[in-house]
Every structure is written in C-alpha cells, then in structure tokens.
Amino acid sequence: MRQTSDVDGLSVEGLVVKYGGLVAVDGQNLTAPRGRITGLIGPNGAGKTTTFNACTGMVKPAAGKVRLLGEDITGLAPHVRALKGMGRTFQRMELYDTLTVRENVVLGKEAGMAGGNPFRHLRATRSQTVQLRRVAAGAMEMCGISGLAARRPANLSTGQRRLVELARCIAGEYPLMLLDEPSSGLDGAETEEFGRILKSLVAERGVGILIVEHDMALVMSICDYIHVLDFGKPIFEGSPREVATSKLVRAAYLGSEADGMAKFENDEERARV
C-alpha cells in the first residue's frame, strides 16, 4: 500500500459507504497531501461527492478510515473535522444569501471561532474582530471579489458565487480544502481564472486541495495527481499524463468529457512540436 497513516494531509483508507443496499463507494483509497492539488474524477454517480461527504462527516462510512494530518477523524462530527483543519465547498453552493459577501467570507472563520462553546457564540472579542477583518480581506483579495464585499450573493452570477464560496473556505485557513465541482456553471474564462487562484493558493499558503471536477481541461492543468472512480470503485490513479493516456479511464469516460482529455493531449503534442 502506498498510503501511510502519517500523510501530511488527508488520507482515506478502504472507505466503504452504503445507502441501504447500494454500495456507493467501495474500497476507496486516496491521499491528498498538503502543497498539492489532488483530483478525484469519474463519471456521474461514481461516488465522488459521497467520498467527500464521508470525509467531512456528512455520511457515515460502513468501513474504512479517514485521517487528517495523521489523526483518525472517522468518527468525529462534521464541525469538529472542520476545526481540525478541513474545509469544503459544495457542488450546489451553500451560501448565506441574505448576508453580504463580506459577512459570508467572515463567517468562514467566525463559525469556527464559535465552535461548540456556547459562550463563544455570544460575541466577538476585539482581537477576534481585528483578526476576522484581516483574514476576510485577504481571502477576498485573493479571489478578486473585494469589489463585491457589500453585495449579497443572491444577486451575483454563478461564477462570482463560486468565488465567494471559495473565499469563505480560504478565510477558514484550513490546511486542507475539499472543493466539489467548483467550475460547474462557469464559462471558459472564469474556469481559467478559478484554476489560477487555486494554483496561487497552493503556492502561497501551502494548503492541500482535493478537487472533484468534471472539467477535464481544468483538472489536467492544475492537478498534481488524479484518482479515477467508476461505480464506486477506484479504477486508476496517477499523474495527469498517465490518466490521459489510460485506456481504462478512456473506456469509463466515453462521452463528452473525453473531449477535454483529447484537447489536453493535443495541447501537449503541440507543446512538444
């Protein structure tokens, strides 16, 4: 086994998730170390989001272990996992639509400050307020949404909303971030911008990112390592190059998304020429 229990990041070992009789994820192993972007791809219904939910504690696995920074977090409640350093975004964005963008981003950190302590729920101390302001400003700056701070997410475009959710996750200062299909609903330019932000995030802050994504061009351009799932089973893992040339992956992916890989190969060839 390649996985060791003291991976500096997230490691999943032999994960099995069942919905009633259906085995949604069967024997998943993966690692997402810090300082890297790890991709998790697969056709619809392959169990990618379920893997995410098992990692963040929103579904209970039937078997397997989830470790974060070497610590076993399999049985912990979702909010405790976040406090241990794992943030996530959602495929269907979970934003606070009635609050401003700034409040949304601030809450990425402030919710963790409140945690499970009733007294910390009541009010922010002065030093916390200062810290929150700094963290939120940094996160918004990084995502290029400082100009939207006073707007409400309900009135923003999907691309902007994705950035707000990402900024909220960045504000949480997690060593590890799980991003669930961040580019769905984005156009080409927006997706490129998104990829650029993720790369600079990893370069500047050394966070680890585990990303579920359908946009192959994005996955191929930003990921350091890719896991491929099909029908709940891991079928392949390797570098973007290995994934792109794998017959097995091609077979599972016959359809529109294979185009992205073909395009990637073409680009590579063109670069070589």
Binding site: T56, P78, V80, R88, H121, G159
Partner: protein, 666 residues
Amino acid sequence: MKDYIPYIIFGLTSGAIYGISAMGLVLTYKTAGVFNFAHGAVCAAAAYAFYDLRELQGLPWPVAAALAVLVFGALLGLILERMALVLANVSTAYKIVATVGLLVAIRSCIVLRYGAEALPFQPFLPQETAFRIEGVRVNYDNVIDLLLGIAAAVALFVFFRASRLGTAMRGVVDDAPLLDMTGQSPAAVRRSAWIIGSVFAAASGVLFASVQQQLDVNILTLLVVQAFGAAAVGLFRSLPLAFVGGLAVGLLQKLAGKEVASHAELQGIDTNMPFLVLLLVLLVARRQQLVEVGRHIKERAVPPSPFPAWVRTAGFAALTVFILLVPQIVGTKLAFWNVTATQVILFLSLGLLVRTSGQISLCHIGFAAIGAAGFGHMLQHDVPWGLAVLIGGAIVIPIGAIIALPAMRLPTLYLALATLGFNIMLAQYAFGKSYMFGFGRLDARRPDVWGMEDDKRYYYLLVTIAFLCLLLVLAVERSRLGRLLRAMSDSPTALTTSGMNVNVTRVMVFCISGFLAGISGALYASLFGSVNQDSFNYLDSLVVLAILAISGRRTITAALVAAFLYKGLPGYVDTIASALGDQDPVQVQTCLNILFGVLAIAAAALSQGQFQNWLSDRGTVWEERSSGPRELRYQTVVAARRAKRPRTETDRSDELVGAGSGGRHG
C-alpha cells in the same frame, strides 16, 4: 394479575381510539408534509357535531354518527387539503403556526357555540357485559372500540398495499412530480389522504367522547398529543406502528394510572404518558429516521422597511411619547396596560426564537409560569425583589435546555412537538405541586420601595424593564450570535462545515428566549400579589404563537402589537361589546381568538411574500395590457426586417452576449 385486568381492558379501549387518531395524523403528515397540530381540534369538532345532531337536533345516533364522522369529517378534510396546498410552499415554522392557528380557531368556535364547560355525553354503544375475563366484566363498547381500531388499521394496511390509490399515496410521499408524470394527480391523491385522515380523526373524537362520557373541548383538542405520542412509535411514518403505538400509549397510561394512585407525588404523570413516549423516541431515534416530510422551504428574509428613515424615527418618537403618556390617558384601564408591559417581554422572547432562528416553542406560557414560581419562592426566602425577578428568569434556562436538547438535533417540527408536550405536562402534572405554586397559592409582590403599590409608578418600572429586555434582544440580534443565527437560517450545512456546532447555537437562543419568558412571568405574577395554577392558561402558549404571527416580523413593533392584542385589547372588550350592541364580552373575546387563529393561518400562507408577488404580478399584467400591443408590434417589425436581410456580425455578437449572460445566471 386480576387487579390489572380492568386497567388492561380500559387501556386497550382508549389505546385503540388513540391508534385510529394517530393513523389519521400520520397519513396526512406523510402524504402532504404538513403536520397537523389541529388534528385534535378536528376530533373535537366532530364530537361536538355528533352531540349537536343527536342531543339538540334529536337525530337517532347512527344517523348522527354517520353525518358527524363521514360527512362532517370529510368536509373538514377537504378544507384542510386546501390549506395544506397553500402551506406546501412556506417554511416549517409557518406550517406549524398555521395549524396551531387552526387549532385556536376551531377550539374558539366550539367554545363560542357550546361554552367552555364540559358537557355530559351519553355513550351510544351498548354498555351490556359481553363476557368476563377472570370474573372481570368486559362491556360491548370496549370490544367494539378495540375491533373498530383493529379493523381500521387492517383496512388501511390492505388499502395501501393492494389498491391503486394506496400505491399512489406511497408514490406521492416519495416523489410527487414523478407521480404527476404517470398521470395520477398528486393533488387528488392528497385530497383522499386528507379525507381519510379527517374521517379517522372524527371517528376517534366521537368514540373518545363516548368513553369519557363527557365533552371537554380542551381534552378533545389535546387528543393530538395522544396521537403524536402514538405516531412517534412509528417514527411518524408507519401506519401499523402508529396503531400499535396507540395501544401501547393507552395501556401505559392506564397501568401507570393504577401504579401512581398510591404515590401522591406522581399523580398526574399517567396522563402525560404520550409526551413521555414522544420524548423517549426523540432521545433514542437516529437522526436519519426522523427526517421531515415535504420540501424544505427557506423562510423569506424580512424585507427592508418601505418607509424612509425619518418617518421611522418620527414614528418611534411618537410611540415613545404615547407609551410614556399611557397612565395619563387610559384612566381606569391602566391595569391592562401594566399586564401588556409584562407581555411585551414575553413576545420579545418568543419573537427572538421564531424570527431569528426559525424555531417554534409551544410552551412559552409554561416558561412564564416557571419564572413566576421561581420568583415567588425566592421572595419567600427574602431575596431582594430585583434579584428574585432575575432568578425567576434564570431558572428557566436549565429547564429549557433539557427540553430543547433532545429535539435540537432534529428538525424544527420535533421541537414544537416536544415543547407542546412539555407545556401540557407542566399544566397537568406540575402546576398542582407545591414546588410550583405552593399550597394553593404563592405570594408574589411588587418591590416595596418608591410607592410601587401605585399602578402609575409601577407602570413606569415595568416599561423600563421591558425596554432593557428590548435592548438585550437587539444586542443579541446585532452580536455574533445574531449573525450566526441569520446565517443558520440560510445554510446550517455551511456553518457546520465551517466548524460550528449549530445545535449549540439553537440551544443558546432557546435558553435566552426562556430566560426572558421567565422574567415576563415573574413580573406578571408581581402584578396580582399572588399566583396560583389558574393564573397561567397553558393553552395560551398556542394563542400567543398565533398572535405573534399576525403582528409582523419587526422586533419592536411585533412585540408591542402582539402584547397589546394579547393582554391590552381584552381590557377594551366590554367597550367593543357594547359598541356592537350589548354583546356578551366573553363571547366577543372568543370571537377575537377565532380571528387571531384565522389571521395566523393567513399570515402563514402569505409568509413568503405571496401577497406582494400577487400584487406585482397584477401590476405587470396591467402594464403589459397598456403597453403590450405597441411592444409586440415593434418586435414583430424588427423580426420581419431581420428575416429579410442577411445576418450580420452585430446580430451574432448580440446573440452570443445573450447566451453568455444567460448561461452564467443559469
């Protein structure tokens, strides 16, 4: 063993009736996604209808029973179905508000026509001995009740498994749009469910009145508590288990009744068995088993005030002046205004809970009673007056936490059920005990400084305390807790994944709300010199929720308006009554309660801004009519021109821009 046989027989008899009622409740809940708190009120209405037809109109009982159960019950079912249809698109909190409003309205209608006192009810089933078990007589009516219950359960079970409509009902639970596509109308299916559910409720109401041999509007209305205790056994989903739960609750109740008869301290606990069963289920059930039926609707945020800032400032200034001048204006009615001032705190507390966190409490009057009791006991121990008030509030905090904790991890609905059960348990079990209101009554006085015996002076003290409570609520709303609460109403999931335990937040706000309710109860008690178990009408816990719902959603105005409607307006009921031509003031007050209930339903139905949308829709239609033809002509001309000439670069870029922005927004 022989001693237990009569209790088992009675337990099974009433258990079968609870079972019938519970099946009706579960059926409507799981097909329509609206948990009907007025289910017991339907039972009561049918029982009274039966009484009316039989005793007052002189119809033979089979005819009266058929009319009350089959016709009247089905009619109520149709009305409920219309209501549920509207409520499908409002938040859970408002669904609860609406059915609670219906409960208040139906109960008040019954009181209006038949009075609040219990009426004798002639049992109509044969009372002769059918057979004996170990020498204990078993009457025909017991046997018939049990057989009816079993028959209803089996019939429902077979109907669900075998009939086409039964299958469709299961389909509507799983996926209504999909059912729609197969050619079965979900609306028609739901209508049948409501009719069956209401007929079951009506049948259980008539049978229960017959067993009790009396018509008591409160007992019948609260049959919903027995029903939800029984339904809890089936996790609010399973019909057969709901019936079994009914039998179990009935048996437990009677057997507990026998056991506690010899323990004075436990007396009254037997009637609360349904609540205890519910609490047990809430404690042991896994969260996944108690998901809420129906679509989850986010509550609409409170829209910004339509008035400019200076108008609002002027309004509040005028209001402040009025509040300060009240003792000079109202004359002999000042006592009512003093009570109103204490109730402002109650509504601030309830508003904080309902508005900022979307939770529902159906035990706020119970909390107020606890606060009053704590306050009274503190005074007995010579605690200074102000401290006693604070302790009265503080005592509610741990109690509120204990009630809320099991329900917190579950959806809003279960908190409402738990608090309603607690409210009733408090009234039926604890109110009579010495630790609540002493022996008979508990002294509660005003502070003995500054001549507070004078109502005018005391009024200003009360207003000051209410103002401080208002500041507390405003501070909570503006603090971190307020921000977390607003975020929670948008997306609890996001908060959880950002590292916050949302259950802690919910319990916090519930406890703060309980604290304020306790203070309001303590001050209320201080007005009268003493309190006893009749000082707090536990059913008012439902009325206050209805009143709050119709008082708007702004912190300050809602609390003031609601407090006036609840305790200020009754001071002027005799004026209204004489203005209406010498009506009975009590009847007028009952009519007001009907009005509150009905308006609460309307407020819930319009809670998502339906009225504003309807208005703006009408506006749009009107605009289209006036300007429509011209626009239409213009477009046609442009389209015709474009069709004639070849496509140009500008056309295509227009389209692209359109498609791009459309995609981004979609």
